[in-house]
Symmetry: C2
Subunit: 211 residues, 2 copies
């Protein structure tokens, strides 16, 4: 019986992996169940054997993505004892994560409707919101650490500042993607460079001394 379960997990994983690729490419809305079936090399009916609905697929991907994001941020924060270096690592982790998992990032920043199907909360929804909160808490703690280290202005209320920072950065990330060619043409910057400058600018809003 465990073999059967393992097989089921394998199929679920294949489907999720395919969906993830398509979501990254076209977004959840423009990706159809037929697309996912084709990409995963199953028939559409098969998808409904392993998942109850498109929404369940989306939620599963968002959740695993956000758990991964949380892990990456944690690692980045722990990676350097120097707060400024850790800050760079955090921003870099975010940018990298977005490249590979834009849908989950959008969910984490609240840039996506999160399947507002009305009615009661979906199955995976509460998990997603919980992880989202945990991420923000992690960042808030990091900010407090920055204040303790003397790197960050200590007047800033951590939770509020983190939310502002988080939303500002997500705006930059979106613009960097949506206007990549404009940025390249007019400013001569790659997306990564542009976002690095953005991270610098936001850093200046947090720190005591300007650099």
């Amino acid at each position: 019986m465990s073999k059967k379960q393992a097989l089921t997990e394998f199929h679920r994983g294949s489907i999720l992996a395919a969906a993830e690729r398509l979501f990254a490419e076209k977004g959840t809305e423009k990706t159809t169940m037929d697309d996912i079936a084709r990409e995963a090399e199953y028939s559409k009916a098969t998808l409904y054997v392993y998942f109850q609905s498109k929404e369940e697929i989306i939620n599963a991907i968002l959740l695993s993505g956000m758990v991964l994001l949380k892990k990456k941020l944690h690692e980045a924060i722990e990676s350097h004892s120097d707060w400024f270096q850790a800050y760079d690592a955090v921003c870099q982790a975010i940018v990298r994560f977005y490249n590979e998992n834009p849908t989950a990032y959008d969910a984490a920043t609240g840039s996506i409707p999160l399947s507002q199907d009305g009615e009661s909360l979906q199955k995976g929804m509460s998990d997603i919101l919980r992880v989202s909160d945990e991420i923000e808490q992690e960042l808030a703690d990091f900010l407090v650490r920055g204040a303790a280290d003397g790197a960050v202005r200590s007047q800033l209320p951590p939770v509020e500042t983190v939310l502002l920072f988080w939303s500002a950065l997500s705006g930059m990330v979106h613009t960097a993607e949506r206007r990549e060619s404009y940025i390249q043409r007019t400013l001569g910057l790659t997306r990564e460079e542009y976002l690095q400058h953005g991270a610098r600018l936001l850093l200046a809003s947090l720190t005591k001394a300007n650099m």
Copy 2:
């Protein structure tokens, strides 16, 4: 013949006004042509007498909205000789504008796909992009003025900084809307207050001295 044209303009205006109300409320995607027809008190087919497609309606609204935004920003910038006061006025103008015209704001910040119909540029599209550029130019000039006044760090490249600022603020604006209840509950702030704090934070990233 002028009477007939005036009548046509009147009908177009009624339809656009109705569409604008609905777009502000539900967004362009969730607003159907049936919705617009009902709100404007015409039949759906009549809409197609005065507009070729839904896209044309959207573009018309985006364009007029962005022209208005440009005007508001210009007025805010000119309203105070003191740069910091003008900055506050600019941010306030943006927030207010978003409340009344979220769709056009999203188009101006590039937060919206702008009817990616593939193919060639749509009719109104080039106008929209032009106004969008003009707005960014206006803001860039304002930043240069701030540097000349000694209010702003002069190392900042104006065009790039404006784009970063613009995208950061748009991220904050979106978060403020999407998580309004969370912000109210956890931080005890209204959306306007939250955004005011955000504008302060961003100001700190631009200025020489911290406040």
